[in-house]
């Protein structure tokens, strides 16, 4: 791994437990600026839990305890003086299933910036976010329509636009295509690739083709442990660990 890359986020010895049961164990991981990092691994390996720890979404799950540090540009996100609401202004999130608010398309994108009092003209901000999410041309004439009338793929791009409108530094994506058809998936993968220009992206996926297509770095997790982390090319073609090789070549289990 090239050392000149700047780490935006650093997980240091992170262990996360649900009611005492470790879901993530002693993970050390650096997320690099304006790169796409994929986290892969079998179901239940703790990849989503790790992702949610990066914007403190695990705070909403009962009986979760966490050890270790998550450093964002040197500040521990779990430090006593850190406001979790502020953390989420820097880390946007896209969820596994499209979850637009049951409101208009415009309101979906505008709500976050409005309640946080972000500067600038809100109409421009919404348009910019929708353009970045490659949705503008499809919805520009019906911004006041309910977001629930959009197709699944459009809804997910709307959710991406909603995250982009906050102009976060990092975008966390939790299996963003798992509920979508192949055409919508391809569109979102293209989109993720373009967003790399301006954002640091962490994507959790159990689709290995997706990881190899879009990501710069790949982390492979199994049973809560980080087994291997490195260049996507290297992880997929010359894995150092036997278990990684078994998983990426489909000889798993």
């Amino acid at each position: 791994m090239k050392t000149i890359e700047k780490a935006v986020l650093e997980a240091r010895d992170v262990t996360i437990r649900y009611s005492g049961q470790a879901a993530v164990q002693g993970v050390n991981l650096s997320i690099y600026e304006k790169k796409i990092t994929a986290i892969i691994g079998p179901s239940g390996c703790g990849k989503s839990t790790l992702l949610r720890s990066l914007n403190r979404m695990n705070d909403f799950i009962d009986h979760v305890t966490q050890e270790g540090e998550i450093l964002y540009r040197g500040t521990n996100l779990y430090g006593p003086e850190v406001d979790p609401v502020e953390v989420r202004l820097h880390m946007g999130m896209v969820f596994q299933r499209p979850n637009p608010f049951p409101k208009s398309i415009f309101r979906n994108v505008a709500w976050g910036p409005t309640i946080n009092g972000l500067p600038g003209d809100i109409n421009h901000r919404v348009e910019r976010a929708l353009r970045q999410a490659a949705l503008w041309n499809e919805v520009k004439d019906r911004l006041e329509d309910s977001a629930l009338n959009l197709s699944g793929g459009q809804q997910q791009r709307l959710c991406i636009a909603r995250a982009l409108a906050m102009e976060p530094e990092v975008i966390l994506m939790d299996e963003p295509c798992s509920a979508l058809d192949p055409v919508s998936t391809a569109r979102i993968e293209d989109l993720i690739f373009e967003l790399k220009e301006s954002y640091t992206i962490v994507i959790v996926t159990h689709n290995m083709q997706q990881a190899s297509r879009v990501s710069d770095y790949t982390a492979f997790m199994e049973s809560g442990k980080l087994i291997e982390y490195g260049d996507t090319d290297q992880v997929f073609t010359r894995p150092k660990q036997k278990r990684t090789e078994d998983y990426v070549t489909g000889r798993f289990g």
Binding site: N55, M57, F60, D62, V85, E86, R88, L89, G92, M93, F95, R97, N99, P100, F101, P102, W111, G112, I115, N116, C159, R162, A163, A165, M166
Partner: protein
């Protein structure tokens, strides 16, 4: 093994016996359901017909505008109708914010602890407590201890206690029905808990909450026992003008009339029932309207 095979083969020929029997059972069940439904609707229809036949001739402007009297032709429900409207409005004013805020706290803020669970269970139990028990409680606390006497306020507070569990339970259910994915989405764009509740949870839950509230108030309208318990009067020849005035209510007036020997008063009671039903149906229509508007 052999009999299994035989069954399998017989089911392949059309007109298999077991299928016929199953259809018969299905039709029989449907008929039984229909029969019981018709019975229930029939009894209700008969009741309404009886009440209508007795009461409608007495129902006129004078009936609504007169105070009770020992002469049936001069008697009316003015004081009872006003008393009921007073009590229900005050009850709504007290129970609605209390119940909804309690539901929001229990559902969204309270830690998922043992204590919270105990409170939840006890609220559910309170919903099943007989109304007369609330009357005794109201008599002890509001009428005697707080010295509110037999006022509209004492009645409304007692009624509020009675319907609070119902309001809290239905509001909690409406709030719980808001998908957590919406809450998480809102948190993910930097919302505080208050903003999530204010802009996402409440708007989505309000139709359900209001339906529950209005159904609970409808129950309060029909309750007699707690009001008699706290000493609401049976003969009132004035309209309450403030929350501290004495009062009577429609069910009390109806009860009073039915317990008199003269047949005319029984017919007056029927007319009173029609007025009570009209108030009830108006409120239920309101609930349906709100639900319809909310789900559109």
């Amino acid at each position: 093994m052999r009999s299994d095979l035989a069954d399998h083969q017989s089911s392949k020929t059309l007109g298999a016996r077991s299928l016929k029997r199953r259809h018969l059972v299905a039709r029989l069940f449907k008929s039984i359901c229909l029969g019981f439904t018709l019975f229930a609707v029939g009894v209700l229809g008969l009741l309404i017909f009886q009440v209508g036949a007795d009461g409608l001739p007495w129902l006129d402007w004078k009936f609504l505008n007169n105070f009770p009297s020992r002469f049936p032709e001069r008697a009316g429900v003015k004081s009872a109708l006003y008393g009921t409207l007073w009590v229900v409005s005050l009850t709504a004013l007290i129970a609605l914010p209390t119940g909804v805020l309690a539901a929001i706290y229990l559902e969204d803020y309270a830690p998922k602890s043992r204590l919270t669970r105990i409170i939840d269970i006890n609220i559910a139990n309170l919903a099943g407590v007989p109304s007369i028990v609330y009357g005794i409680l109201g008599l002890a606390i509001f009428v005697r201890f707080l010295g509110l006497e037999r006022s509209v306020l004492a009645g409304a507070l007692t009624m509020s206690l009675l319907i609070l569990p119902v309001i809290i339970i239905s509001s909690k259910e409406a709030i719980r029905a808001v998908p957590s994915s919406i809450r998480l989405a809102a948190y993910a764009v930097g919302a505080t808990q208050w903003q999530v509740v204010r802009f996402h949870v409440l708007p989505a839950a309000i139709p359900g909450i209001l339906t529950g509230v209005i159904l609970a108030l409808s129950r309060a309208i029909g309750e007699t026992a707690p009001l008699i318990m706290i000493g609401a009067l049976t003969y009132v020849a004035f309209v309450p003008e403030g929350p501290m005035d004495e009062f009577t209510a429609l069910p009390i007036q109806i009860f009073n009339w039915t317990s008199r020997p003269q047949a005319e008063f029984h017919e007056l009671a029927a007319a009173g029932i029609i007025v009570l039903l009209a108030v009830l149906l108006t409120m239920n229509a309101l609930a349906v309207l709100i639900r319809y508007k909310g789900t559109r």
